[in-house]
Symmetry: C2
Subunit: 163 residues, 2 copies
């Protein structure tokens, strides 16, 4: 009783004006939050949030190394996105790539010393920024609500994953 064709109440197709306003506020605020976090991290460490995700995953990995596809699914990226990103990170000396010994066609991504150092220097300021921009912005109730909203949105996206 949520969907339907034009008409039937309880089943309108389009958002109300209020819903639309909230939608706009919500999507714009979260986008602004993300981009502020991004520039904060950039200023504090010369890393992007993408770099940070990759370095975090590698730091926590066995031997500071992971297979490329494993890394991609771990951080939820498409393979080509990761490949492009690793190319840029490799040019900056943050990671290295080498043929994987165990898996035939696999490529192994290694954290370099420079990468580990950049990551460890970025961690504290990044977490502090999350606190300042997100945690401190909300009441404890709102933080809980934000978690539930995230879960609900994610569930909805997963349910509609066939588009």
């Amino acid at each position: 009783m949520t969907e339907a064709t034009p008409g039937r109440r309880g089943g309108r197709q389009l958002p109300t004006a209020d819903e639309l306003r909230i939608w706009r506020d919500f999507i714009e605020a979260t986008a602004a939050l993300g981009s502020r976090l991004e520039s904060r991290l950039q200023g504090d460490s010369s890393l992007s949030t993408g770099d940070y995700s990759v370095l975090l995953a590698l730091s926590e990995a066995e031997g500071q190394a992971m297979r490329s596809s494993e890394l991609a699914s771990h951080i939820g990226w498409e393979r080509s996105r990761l490949s492009h990103h690793l190319g840029r990170m490799e040019r900056r000396g943050l990671i290295r790539r080498q043929e994987c010994a165990t898996v035939p066609r696999g490529s192994e991504v290694l954290l370099t010393a420079a990468g580990a150092e950049a990551f460890s220097g970025a961690t504290f300021p990044h977490l502090r920024a999350i606190r300042e921009l997100f945690v401190d912005a909300l009441t404890p109730d709102q933080i809980v609500a934000a978690g539930e909203i995230a879960t609900a949105l994610r569930a909805r996206l997963d349910v509609l994953a066939k588009d």
Copy 2:
């Protein structure tokens, strides 16, 4: 009282593990939501959400036209972003630019017939997608909470607008 260094007030510097988990869920879910909306709109209309914002503003404008800087502040974009985007939209015939008669150095952005048509074809599917992916994902209480969270985040960003 959880973390360390210069800790005055009941103000630890770093988020707790729970806060961090919620942060991650939240930022990832909203990013995924945005990109799903984007690809929905793309598939339904061959417009991006950026195109949509521009066309919406122009559609509602006096004479289907606006000065460039006015448009930029109306949709909250940086000037160079808008300039690049208008260049792409102009190549696709969605808008036109011409010297502004009233303001010396100003440039005026006009909606073309093709642009108006693309916009009107995109509106219904786009609103429907917002409903399916956002409104239908949440309870009425959660929608209200989402609005409050957006407002709180925005307020926090504005307060810290000096970085």
